[in-house]
Amino acid sequence: MTALARFYLLAILVFLYLPIVVMMAMGFNESALYELPFRFSTRWYEALSGNGQLISAGVNSVVIALITAVIATLAGTMAAVALDRHAVRGRTLLQLLLLPPIAIPWLITGTAMLVFFFWTGIGRGMHALLIGHVALAIPYVVLVVGTGLKTIRSDLEEAAVSLGSTPLHAFFAVTLPLLAPSILGAALFAFAVSLDQFVISYFLSTPGFATLPVQIYSAIRKGFTPEINAISTILLLGSMSVIVVFAIFARPGGSRDKR
């Protein structure tokens, strides 16, 4: 029974990774038409270095993900602290309000943003993408930091206050250092959410300003070459390494170990 179960898990892993591995391998195949037999070549990666459109889209993606991570982590951490440590009226409602960005299909959120931004004159482009990405990332930050806060005893902070520290100083000197792994984890999470976001970016980008997923999508639809495999491989490895770092820092119980 155990052998069967392990074999089944292996089959699931093959199912999950097989297309990704095939896609990555084809990025190293010489033929432009994906013809086999396989002949190793790095020409598609070389071609990438001359593809200004994909490179600038990649730079856009990383810049937006960085700014999103900073803003979402700041705002989300503040909200998480207030929701966990302060007496807040309507806490349940406030927590429920974090769900729509996660639970409503991005197609609907994205088109709604398009309509609203167009109507109010905010328009599309980088700033519009930032507004959207931060909104999608904030709920995750509040959840991750909120979970971290629950593992830190609030009486430590109270002890500092009763010993003469100001509440603000007590927070920065006692709680914040303990919370740092969760905050870092949340920031990586926000970065990954933004880096992989396609639907919202698709509706909010302009012909002159696109992120990497948007550029890849239009390339797929217009007819693609293994160059797309190459850039996709880079994007996948990038977000996978961010998530692996996240898993190491914010492993469930990770912050508890450090207490």
């Binding site: 155990t2 179960a5 392990r6 089944y8 898990l9 699931i12 892993l13 199912f15 999950l16 990774y17 297309p19 990704i20 095939v22 086999l36 705002a75 503040m78 909200a79 207030a82 929701l83 966990d84 007496a87 807040v88 806490r91 349940t92 406030l94 729509p100 960005p101 639970a103 299909p105 991005w106 197609l107 609907i108 959120t109 709604a112 309509v115 609203f116 109507w119 507004i131 959207g132 909104a135 904030i138 629950k150 902070e157 109270e158 009763s162 100001t166 509440p167 992989d196 509706f203 997923p213 890849i216 797929i220 797309i228 495999n229 996709s232 996948l236 977000s239 998530i243 692996v244 898993a247």
Partner: protein, 305 residues
């Protein structure tokens, strides 16, 4: 979020705080403002605007005078082809959810019963890792496998050289396959969280009382995994019926779903009011699903905490 936070007393004792700081409501509001202000501008006002648009006869930026109308909500009556598309979308959603549930339940069961320690942790990370990579790229990677002369055909021809093509890119099963690939990790996670809490003693007790594996599965394991299955099903079904890039890339010409129809209204046809009305119809269906299963969901999140 667990309800127990509600019962928690305010962190600082009232005596300590009163003397030397701003009124507590002020600091609380200041801490909450960035998050909720941002969500107001980026999520809630846009949704309200779109709701208003769905009742207009034309986009207010145009020249035509704007009049209140319900005609876009009657689209399913006046444009009967939409009913067929909606049905197709639901069928794709159900198949995807069903396959994810079956595959995911047994994967979670295998994880919870046949692995332990480091191996289990590593397997869990490996299973969840693809979920946090770009969905678009994963869908694209299936075209490499499924197309004529793709990896699937190469595999077939290596065992049976004369065979034809079994690639099924640009069919509905291809769409379902790509979606299952995308949402299976979610289902495995939610089922695993439900199953991992099951005490070995319960299963041993059932065995010693003579229960066969089938009885244990249907009378013990499935009922206990039900909250996880329901959560996973909702987390799969909701995004799947709103999907548009998977049907476009893997379905080609047969990939017309509610998602692609809505997208078309905003990017091709520029009939924003119709797109808005269709979006809200979809949202209503989703909310109805949430409401139907909210009891089960509440119990399942209670179990997770």
């Amino acid at each position: 979020m667990p309800a127990d936070t509600l019962a928690r007393p305010a962190a600082s004792p009232p005596g300590a705080a009163a003397g030397h700081r701003l009124p507590s409501w002020f600091s609380t509001a200041a801490l909450l403002l960035p998050t909720y202000g941002w969500l107001l501008i980026a999520i809630f006002l846009p949704l309200c605007t779109m709701l208003a648009f769905s009742f207009m006869n034309a986009t207010p930026m145009g020249r035509a005078p704007v009049v209140f109308t319900l005609k876009h909500y009657k689209a399913f009556v006046t444009q009967p082809y939409l009913v067929g598309i909606a049905w197709d979308s639901l069928v794709i959603g159900f198949w995807t959810t069903f396959l994810c549930a079956v595959l995911g339940f047994f994967a979670a069961l295998a994880l919870a019963r046949a692995t332990a320690g480091r191996a289990r942790e590593t397997l869990l990370i490996l299973i969840l890792l693809p979920f946090w990579t770009n969905g678009l790229v994963r869908v694209f990677s299936w075209t490499m496998v499924l197309r004529e002369g793709g990896f699937l055909d190469v595999l077939l021809h290596s065992v049976w050289p004369g065979a034809g093509s079994i690639g099924f890119l640009y069919t509905r099963p291809a769409i379902v396959l790509g979606l299952v690939h995308g949402y299976l990790p979610y289902m495995i996670l939610t089922c695993y969280i439900a199953l991992v809490t099951i005490d070995d003693a319960i299963i041993e007790a059932a065995q010693s009382l003579g229960a066969r594996w089938w009885t244990i599965l249907t009378r013990v394991l499935l009922p206990m995994a039900l909250p996880g299955l329901t959560t996973g099903a909702i987390l799969t079904f909701v995004p799947v019926i709103g999907s548009f890039m998977e049907p476009r890339i893997l379905g080609g010409r047969v990939g017309v779903t509610m998602g692609t129809v809505i997208e078309d209204q905003f990017t091709q046809a520029f009939n924003w009011p119709l797109g808005a009305a269709l979006s809200f119809t979809m949202l209503a269906v989703i909310l109805a699903i949430f409401a139907t299963f909210s009891g089960v969901l509440r119990r399942s999140t209670g179990g997770m905490a």
